[in-house]
Symmetry: none
DNA sequence: AGCGCGCGTTCACGGACCGTTCACAGCGGT
DNA sequence: ACCGCTGTGAACGGTCCGTGAACGCGCGCT
């Protein structure tokens, strides 16, 4: 039963495949190398079903304890995670900022790939 | 069951879906990026069941405190909110002005689509 | 012990965004 | 024509966030 668990405990979203219990995430099958914090962020965000997660809650669930004012750890790790996700899947944007509210996870085609007007 | 709570706390009106507790609003499923004030306005207006909300009350409920004479913040933010709603759902008008009374929220087909009186 | 290295935190700078205010235009009522 | 009310663009100061860099720490290796 504990051996079959990892088959059930998977978050799939777009080309991402996350195994929360294992510390493993794959992009198009290729494993990502994430640190503990990076992986924690990814799990919490991707597991929140597209809702906005407030910074305070993000900190509690990944770091544990209360977010002290002025602590920028979240920003830094969001950035690191974004960087790794982007280099793995350049045309997808996963983590979206909602200023004043928090971060939202949702695979969306990155806007940086704006197709030149094929208009007639 | 504890996970189902967020499903209840939703305002649905037309193609809009508003999650007051989360700071998130969607138009046709696509998330809108609203500032804190814009979102506050949307929640209060959309949650007022189509009644007219006086400016005084709008200000109290979104900004907190009393509306000082000459304060134009409401006008500016109504405008910003309208702009974002319109670019998300161009053929719908949501916020209607009642001069001297306040604003009323109600999804109506925008009149901007039967333009030409000049076309005969 | 000394070294290199990955990790997490902190700092510093700059840019993006937010909310307020001002200035002017349009419109309806008197 | 005048006035009060609202729409709308622009400017401004402040806050929030993105991002590169420095620092300290623990760990494995030699």
């Amino acid at each position: 039963m504990e051996a079959a668990e990892h088959l059930r405990d998977v978050i799939r979203t777009g080309a991402l495949e996350i195994h929360p219990g294992q510390g493993l995430a794959r992009a198009d099958g290729r494993a990502l190398t994430l640190s503990v914090r990076e992986f924690g962020l990814l799990v919490v965000l991707a597991g929140s079903g597209g809702t906005i997660v407030r910074r305070e809650e993000l900190y509690r669930r990944v770091w544990g304890g209360a977010l002290r004012p002025g602590d920028r750890s979240i920003d830094v790790y969001i950035h690191k995670l974004r960087t790794k996700l982007e280099e793995a899947l350049p045309e997808w944007a996963f983590i979206h900022t909602h200023v004043g509210f928090g971060y939202r996870f949702s695979p969306e085609r990155s806007r940086a790939f704006h197709i030149p007007s094929t208009d007639r």
